[in-house]
């Protein structure tokens, strides 16, 4: 088996699997850096995926679907924001609640509108994000090494994938190079300082939450419009929690977030690829072990190499100045 070939295949699969994780984890980064924790990523993604599938089908346009996903996901974020910022409620409870509500309502609405049982109608090409071939991909393919890498790895992904990877430096830039970023980080560390500097803590946090909504929406749209042709019930299948883990793994920093997600993606791709095929030394391992492998390795890596992860100081705590 040509090694380069194998590498390329694994790498492609890795990228596909990481894309939604990167988007969701970056989404989490925005709220949690603003001091609002969110285990509702799962729900927002699912809600987004559903909206995307629905609208894309009706409007026969991927863009419309994407837009809808973002809008719905933002609305859900605002609910979370209202509960945890305005009402100073418990952020974890609010997140759990949103996951429940979305899980239930998507199925109900989907069935009510399309009668296809827990899924939206399969989307036509036009209503999905197609894989884009970058210029010269074919031409360059012949070139040894870089040719295939460019043609098969860099090129040929859905627009949202490029968007996801683009968002990594963008997020970094926003966070560390803009006024918004400065204030966002500050409000997650010490809201008192932000408040006394004459900035509205509440509004800052809402903005963080909204950013989260946008990215979760895109993540959802990726699931139903790029990775798939439509929404199916519970299609996030726990990705929200993995994204959360990646976020912590990366200590709430954009670039590491990308690498953490790529790692999860790779381990997953690896497990998929080598299921049932005997491995060197160990031989044929039970499917279940193979499927647990990514998680086991994560734990080992975490315990072995990644030091303590210190969350934003004010994270999870509602801002109350008059107790």
């Amino acid at each position: 088996m040509d090694f380069l070939q194998l590498f390329l295949e694994l790498a492609q699969s890795t990228i596909r699997l990481s894309t939604p994780l990167i988007l969701a984890a970056l989404a989490g980064l925005f709220t949690e850096r603003a001091g609002v924790f969110d285990i509702g990523l799962e729900g927002k993604m699912l809600g987004g995926a559903f909206a995307a599938g629905t609208v894309a089908f009706i409007a026969q346009s991927a863009m419309a679907g994407l837009l809808a996903a973002v809008v719905v996901s933002i609305l859900l974020s605002l609910v979370h924001g209202y509960a945890s910022i305005t009402q100073r409620g418990n952020q974890i409870v609010s997140g759990v609640a949103i996951n429940f509500i979305v899980a239930g309502s998507t199925v109900i609405l989907g069935e009510a509108w399309f009668r296809q049982g827990g899924r939206t109608p399969a989307l036509a090409e036009a209503a999905r994000f197609q894989e884009i071939d970058l210029p010269f991909a074919e031409a360059l393919r012949g070139v040894p090494l870089i040719g295939p890498i460019y043609a098969d790895l860099i090129s040929g992904h859905a627009a949202l994938t490029y968007f996801a990877f683009l968002m990594v430096p963008v997020t970094w830039w926003i966070l560390y190079r803009t006024r918004f970023g400065l204030r966002l980080r500050a409000v997650g560390e010490n809201p008192g300082a932000v408040d006394t500097a004459g900035i509205s803590v509440v509004w800052m946090r809402y903005r963080g939450v909204i950013c989260c909504g946008i990215l979760c929406g895109v993540a959802g749209a990726y699931l139903s419009l790029a990775a798939n042709a439509g929404w199916t019930k519970g299609m996030t299948a726990g990705k929200g929690y993995i994204a959360l883990a990646a976020l912590i793994f990366a200590k709430w920093r954009p670039v590491p977030v990308m690498f953490a997600c790529l790692l999860f993606g790779f381990l997953d791709a690896f497990a998929i690829r080598y299921q049932g095929t005997p491995l060197p030394l160990v031989g044929k391992v039970p499917v279940q072990l193979m499927q647990a492998l990514p998680y086991i390795l994560t734990v080992i890596l975490l315990a072995g190499f990644i030091g303590k992860a210190i969350p934003p100081k004010a994270g999870g705590v509602p801002y109350v100045k008059e107790r």
Binding site: S13, L17, R119, A122, K233, G234, G276, V287, Q288, Q291
Partner: protein, 310 residues
């Protein structure tokens, strides 16, 4: 007076893109034909099995159909409590005087699907995507593998399972990813028995210009011309029959084993995939079908010894 039929689904829920949904379709068909309504219920956890079943029996629903092998233990109990109620259970045998047990020879259907796959494959590599690694799914897989390999010794069959949590049945993204990885490994026909996950598998095949094979109900229509065939498991028929016979008072308890002979399993050939099925494929499956019915070929039943010789 009309009968009061009822059906209770398994945890997967009515719309699992798999046998629960097939069962639902059967009930709907009955309703459409006879105009007789029916009650149905989706349990949310195991504790509700007994509750729901007893509740339905208590309310005088009759017959009551249960989709899924997990119902066996509960039914054992309730069937004796309500001797006058007719019960039917799918995918499992419960030996009671008022229970009809319907089990399928998935392996036989799988065998035919395997033959088509083997013959349609140019790379001589075909693959299978299961939802969770459980016996029932192995039953599907084993027949398929056998069938595929029966078309030539050189045929290779890849086999993979989606996951170990209930999500494994609702993860089209991962389903698609598994399929793609199998294509990378040379497969050009992929057969799924993975409920909602399969939606992703068939999609991936369609996108990659490979062939998919549907399961349970006829999924050829999902991607016309890109789904080689669907391995039919006529759960819908089983449910329909239970209702129908009860309605004409001909409901027979006992064990129904539905295989090719009984048309309980099979492969779907319709306008959606006509273009993909060559005449010699047709011939091949007709022959295989005849052999199996005649008993000259027996397809190994995974459940008999929980392993697959092929």
């Amino acid at each position: 007076a009309d009968i009061k039929p009822a059906i209770i689904y398994d945890l997967g829920g009515k719309f699992d893109k798999s046998f629960n949904e097939a069962a639902y379709n059967g009930a709907e068909k009955f309703k459409a034909e006879t105009g007789i309504g029916y009650r149905d219920f989706e349990i949310a956890n195991d504790a509700q099995r007994e509750q729901a079943l007893r509740r339905f029996a208590g309310d005088g629903n009759n017959p009551i159909v249960m989709a899924g092998f997990s119902w066996a233990a509960t039914l054992e109990k309730i069937a004796t409590e309500y001797p006058d109620t007719k019960f039917a259970i799918i995918d499992m045998v419960v030996d009671k005087p008022n229970v009809r047990s319907v089990v399928f020879k998935e392996e036989e259907g799988g065998w035919l699907a395997g033959i088509l796959a083997g013959m349609a494959s140019k790379t001589k590599t075909v693959s299978f995507v299961g939802g969770m690694d459980i016996p029932l799914i192995h039953k599907f897989a084993c027949g398929y593998i056998g069938g595929a390999k029966s078309t030539g010794p050189e045929v290779k069959v890849l086999e993979a399972y989606t996951g170990t949590t209930p999500d494994a049945w609702n993860d089209p993204v991962k389903g698609a990813e598994i399929a793609k990885s199998q294509f990378d490994q040379g497969s050009d026909v992929v057969y799924h028995a993975a409920g909602g996950t399969g939606v992703g598998v068939l999609q991936a095949a369609a996108d990659a210009g490979k062939l998919g094979i549907g399961v349970d109900s006829n999924q050829n229509g999902l991607h016309p011309g890109k789904v080689l065939t669907s391995m039919l498991k006529r759960v819908d028929v089983a449910v329909y029959d239970a209702f129908k016979t009860a309605n004409d008072g001909t409901f027979e308890p006992g064990i129904n084993v539905l295989g090719l002979k009984e048309d309980g399993v099979g492969v779907a050939i319709d306008e959606n995939n006509a273009s993909l099925i060559t005449d010699e494929m047709k011939a091949a499956i007709e022959k295989a079908k005849a052999d199996i019915i005649a008993g000259t070929v027996t397809v190994h039943d995974y459940m008999s010894d929980e392993n697959c010789p092929y």
